[in-house]
């Protein structure tokens, strides 16, 4: 009995220990299968990545991209260093296209009246039509596309109009740059594209400019722009000075040394005054009561003849663009003028009119969605009802698909052959990256169907288009283009422009609208026109200024909000005249001009898929074809209800803390030998490499490309609006945005914050299970599979860069398994995660170098954020390598460690923000 007692006790103790030992250590569950190919695909190595060049086409323009493939499926998009529009960088929407490719919400069947239809029905219907068209030359046939720069598609359309003379092609680009062309017509009498050359610009004046945020070629512009903003830091060349005049914040405005928030009407007056001051317009334009800074800016511009330029955003009126052209002409601004890259075609208004008149019998809609984004006044939806046979080609069953007679699933741009031109005219061949994931069709294929071409092949089409353009060995040239991702010397030639003599008089008088409230309708920074609204990455990527996700809001200046008695998250109704109203939450945003409300387009999709439908509200209903960007006669009514907005940043200023350091270019800190910080701890034996990162706050423009790249590279799950509101966003690198304390005209300071990889990391010491430790390269590694989830590390991280899987986010993420990056562990519920400096890339490089016993060269291992950054603000490398770029960056006296008083010894350091203000100007 007693014996039993003792033994029993012992066994109880033992049993628990035994369980501990056993659990999870039995035979592994269902064994994996290995499925080799039947026949080895050429150039494919299991377990290794391969890279294929192509391009992403946005609003008609191509940006070169390189897709990283794993076992012949694209998992990550990177910029193409050889492509003029990318230079290796990639913006967020571009990177999102990979997710679009795998979007489970993609349309996969021909639909007719909402029912799955047989492709042959459509084919027969068209065959019938063809017979008729061959007789009447295509009367009643209309083709609607987006803006097109594709030579082969243009050729196809040309051929089609030969075949059916009566047929017409219209183009509709919801985010059109028509005003730019119109402005050029006013100034030069012909449309031209003007390409700013920021590398040559000492003075930049941005009129709500999208030059570094969205304009075609913005990545290239941003590269040059950033280099000039970093000049003081690198000591190379002269730092540029940037002015911005705008009604709503832009990235260029945030980077500006002087930013002036004006109402749209005032902007034109200011610009006229400047024009007059630089002799680009009559003296009376100077106006009587103009703010003091106008003259100062004008003087500064004039003083830098040949090195000063003005750039205006596409939403500005033709008059403003004309003025910009005139000023640039007067300044001899560093610009390149080229013939327009996008093919010109009659627009949607004309088409809608014909449709209303019943002149349109057959309408082929290729990759545009007018039922969602057509201006309200065109009544496109009603017009479409009057078209006997309407066929829509789209990747999703969208708003138009539900009205068209036939909806045809479109191939993703990575699934078929095509070509497109970049902002400077450079052409790229888009080659298919993967066998189509859905039984879809491409735009060329649809056009071929109209033409009745037998066994059409997009590849042949593209090749034929380009074959005429080369003399000699086409095959060699072709493979060269494909490898490089660029068709050699296709860049557009300069176009000679001269300012019209009657320019000043021809300019329409400035509109004298004295409205209390002006509503600006602007593309969303990431969703743009909403075509990518079903993309979780883009929906959850915090907007640069608002840090808002999963919603659009009515952005109101603090003063205006006060005047109207409106607080953030209060639901408001906004209407144009008596027209349709849009209801959405207000958000008080410093930097907005007084009396100006900004709404983002691209939200409130009624049909696109589970992710995007019903997210935000459709501000597009306020657009009219005559004034698509702005409503002067707008009314705003508070509903009294509130609606929580999912922002990732709760507190907007630095509270006087030393977080983003700012210096004026005139009094930069002197280079001083940094005193070695004292530490109680003995130095650790280190390995061959010491990885570190330097981030230049001066050249960070806050575009968020780094966050997007990180999300794509590191399998970061999308958590959804509700979880973001609960402070559980998972981004490994966040871009903090602080408003400078100047309440009147606050400047935004952006600060990308990845893991600091502290050498004396506070997170590691508190982990009870060695789940986060240092490796010999000085990386603060996070071992997910060892983590038990005490979360002490997250508490103890002063930079709050650690993210926790409160739920099984990866499991909930709708993206298919094949789309994840196989080189990065997909994290399970209950484990901590954080930035790893892209350890998988580091390991790959180290192993490759170690395999053939050579040292790692600088830049061989790039982090995803560094790679995507358009301005090269982020530099990563080996601190042991005296010649490495990162070492040079850190040598700058501007270099500092965030919260360095905590003595955590971060490997990630920042170069202070440098401003180059005009001493003549006090305000702004």
């Amino acid at each position: 009995m007693t014996e039993f007692g003792r033994r029993h006790l012992m066994q109880l103790v033992a049993a628990s220990a035994a369980l501990a030992g056993l659990s999870g250590c039995g035979p592994s569950e269902t064994p994996e299968k290995m499925t080799p190919r039947v026949d080895q695909a050429p150039g494919e190595t299991a377990g290794e990545a391969s890279y294929v060049a192509t391009a992403v086409v946005q609003e008609g323009f191509a940006t070169g991209a390189i897709l990283q493939h794993r076992m012949a499926r694209p998992v990550k998009l990177e910029g193409n260093p050889d492509h003029p529009a990318s230079l290796g960088a990639a913006d967020a929407p571009m990177q999102g296209t990979v997710l679009d490719l795998y979007d489970p919400g993609r349309s996969a069947a021909v639909l007719s009246g909402g029912q799955i239809a047989d492709w042959n029905r459509l084919a027969l219907a068209l065959a019938e039509k063809r017979r008729q068209w061959s007789k009447d030359g295509g009367t009643g046939l209309r083709i609607l596309t987006g803006s097109i720069s594709s030579p082969s598609l243009a050729a196809q359309l040309a051929a089609l109009s030969q075949q059916y003379p009566a047929a017409r092609w219209h183009s509709w680009e919801p985010l059109s740059r028509d005003n730019v062309a119109a402005g050029a017509r006013l100034a030069f009498g012909k449309p031209v594209d003007a390409l700013p050359q920021f590398d040559k610009a000492d003075i930049v004046l941005g009129i709500e400019s999208d030059a570094i945020s969205a304009a075609p070629g913005h990545l290239a512009f941003a590269r040059a722009f950033g280099a000039r903003r970093r000049a003081a830091e690198t000591g190379s060349g002269k730092m540029s000075r940037v002015y911005a005049i705008e009604a709503t914040p832009t990235l260029l405005g945030a980077a500006a040394d002087h930013r002036f928030a004006l109402k749209p009407a005032e902007i034109e007056l200011a610009l006229r005054a400047i024009a007059a001051a630089v002799d680009a317009g009559p003296a009376e334009w100077r106006g009587s009561e103009r703010p003091g800074w106008v003259d100062a800016v004008a003087r500064d511009l004039a003083a830098h003849h040949g090195a000063a330029l003005v750039h205006a955003g596409p939403e500005q009126s033709p008059a403003i663009h004309a003025l910009a052209c005139a000023i640039n002409a007067a300044l001899g601004a560093p610009l390149r003028h080229i013939e327009p890259v996008a093919a010109d075609a009659p627009g949607l208004a004309e088409l809608a009119a014909e449709m209303h008149d019943g002149k349109v019998e057959t309408l082929l809609i290729l990759g545009v969605n007018p039922a969602y984004d057509a201006p309200a006044d065109l009544g496109f939806v009603e017009a479409l009802k009057r078209v006997a046979l309407s066929i829509e080609l789209a990747t999703h069953v969208d708003e138009t698909a539900q009205l068209a007679t036939f909806h045809v699933p479109a191939l993703h741009m990575f699934e078929d052959w095509s070509d497109a031109r970049a902002f400077d005219g450079t052409a790229t061949i888009l080659q298919p990256q993967i066998r189509p994931l859905v039984p879809g069709h491409s735009a060329p294929a649809m056009l071929a169907l109209l033409a009745g071409t037998q066994d059409f092949s997009a590849r042949d089409l593209v090749q034929d288009t380009w074959r005429q353009r080369v003399s000699g060995d086409f095959a060699a040239a072709w493979s060269g283009w494909l490898r490089k991702g660029v068709v050699d010397n296709t860049a557009a030639a300069d176009a000679a422009v001269t300012l019209r003599r009657d320019f000043a008089t021809a300019l329409p008088k400035p509109a004298q609208t004295a409205s209390a409230l002006t509503v600006l309708l602007r593309p969303d920074p990431f969703l743009r026109d909403g075509a990518q609204a079903n993309n979780g990455w883009l929906q959850e990527l915090p907007r640069p200024f608002t840090r808002l996700t999963w919603d659009n809001a009515a952005l109101i200046a603090p003063a205006t909000a006060g005047r109207l008695g409106i607080a953030s998250e209060e639901l408001v109704d906004i209407a144009r005249g008596g027209g349709k109203k849009v209801r959405l939450a207000a958000m008080v945003l410093p930097g907005q001009a007084e009396g100006v409300v900004t709404l983002s387009l691209g939200y409130g999709r009624r049909a696109i898929g589970a992710v995007g439908e019903g997210v935000g509200s459709d501000a597009g209903v306020l657009r009219v074809s005559t004034a698509p960007w702005q409503a002067d006669d707008a009314t705003l009514h508070a509903t009294g209800q509130t609606y929580p907005l999912a922002t990732t940043q709760q507190h907007q200023t630095m509270d006087g803390r030393d977080i983003v350091r700012t210096f004026s270019v005139d009094d930069l800190p002197k280079a001083a030998a940094a005193p070695e910080r004292a530490s109680l701890y003995p130095p650790y034996p280190k390995g061959d490499n010491a990885w570190g990162m330097a981030i230049s706050l001066g050249s960070c423009i806050g575009c968020g490309a780094c966050t997007a790249a990180c999300q794509a590279e590191n399998n970061i799950p999308v958590v959804g609006r509700e979880q973001v509101m609960r402070g559980r966003a998972m981004h490994w690198i966040r871009v903090d945005r602080y408003w400078s304390d100047d309440v009147a005209n606050p400047g935004a300071r952006f600060q990308p914050v990845p893991c600091m990889h502290c050498e004396d990391a506070p997170c590691e010491v508190v982990c009870p299970v060695d789940a986060t430790v240092h490796d010999t390269d000085g990386l603060n590694v996070m071992v997910y599979n060892r983590c038990v989830g005490t979360r002490f590390c997250a508490n103890n991280c002063p930079y709050k860069v650690r993210r926790f899987n409160f739920f099984g986010y990866s499991g909930r993420d709708p993206r298919p398994a094949m789309s994840w990056n196989p080189d990065v562990t997909v994290r399970d519920r209950g484990v901590m995660e954080k930035c790893t400096y892209c350890i998988q890339r580091i390991r790959e490089t180290k192993i490759a170098a170690d395999r053939d016993n050579r040292p790692i060269t600088d830049g061989e291992a790039k982090t995803a954020c560094q790679q995507a950054c358009p301005t090269e603000a982020i530099v990563f490398g080996d601190l042991n390598d005296a010649e490495s770029a990162v070492r040079k960056r850190k040598a700058s006296p501007l270099d500092y460690a965030l919260l360095e008083e905590l003595n955590t010894r971060p490997r990630t350091t920042y170069a202070a923000h440098v401003r180059n203000p005009n001493p003549e100007i006090k305000e702004g």
């Binding site: 009995m1 007693t2 502290c758 997170c763 590691e764 010491v765 060695d770 240092h774 010999t776 010894r905």
Partner: protein, 172 residues
């Protein structure tokens, strides 16, 4: 053991009686009381106190073991760079070493007590003594072992007879 048992109603008498028996040179006496009666210490046999030694030893062992465990685990078996701290940082090992020491000591004290007291032992012959169930409540028992060299039933009985108690010869 067997011999003579006496049942008292009050502590005072028991102690006095024990004293007298002791004077009479009897050694092998055991008392059963509802609560510890310290006065008996002078008259009853005193086992050597090894429990404190045991507990102390266990404590020291725990302390040493604790330090050894941590040092081996952190500095020898799998040394890792934890936030740049030295692998064998003894100050950080103090708390755990201390806790293990205390745990060891307490467990030793507990187990030691039962071992020395011969417990658990559900069968206790003495419990067969009529009325003994009150030994844990409000009665005091004195048992003289006949194995004692000086034991003479008559003498013991006469000594005990001088007290307010019920004397019964006892055989298990």
């Amino acid at each position: 053991m067997s011999g003579l048992a006496a049942e008292f109603a009050a502590e005072a008498a028991l102690v006095e009686a024990a004293g007298r028996l002791r004077q009479a040179g009897l050694r092998r006496i055991e008392a059963y009381t509802p609560y510890p009666v310290e006065a008996l210490d002078d008259f009853l046999p005193r086992p050597r106190a090894i429990l404190p030694v045991l507990v102390f030893a266990a404590g020291i062992l725990g302390l040493a073991g604790g330090f050894l465990l941590q040092w081996y685990g952190a500095a020898v078996s799998y040394p890792l760079d934890i936030g740049g701290r030295p692998p064998a940082s003894w100050p950080a090992f103090i708390p755990i070493a201390f806790e293990i020491a205390v745990l060891g000591a307490v467990t030793a004290g507990f187990i030691g007590f039962f071992a020395l007291a011969g417990l658990p032992a559900p069968y206790q012959p003495i419990a067969l003594l009529p009325g003994f169930e009150r030994a844990s409540q409000d009665r005091f028992f004195l048992v003289v072992d006949e194995a004692d060299p000086r034991f003479a039933a008559a003498d013991v009985a006469s000594i005990l007879g001088g007290f307010p108690c019920r004397v019964v010869p006892w055989r298990p």
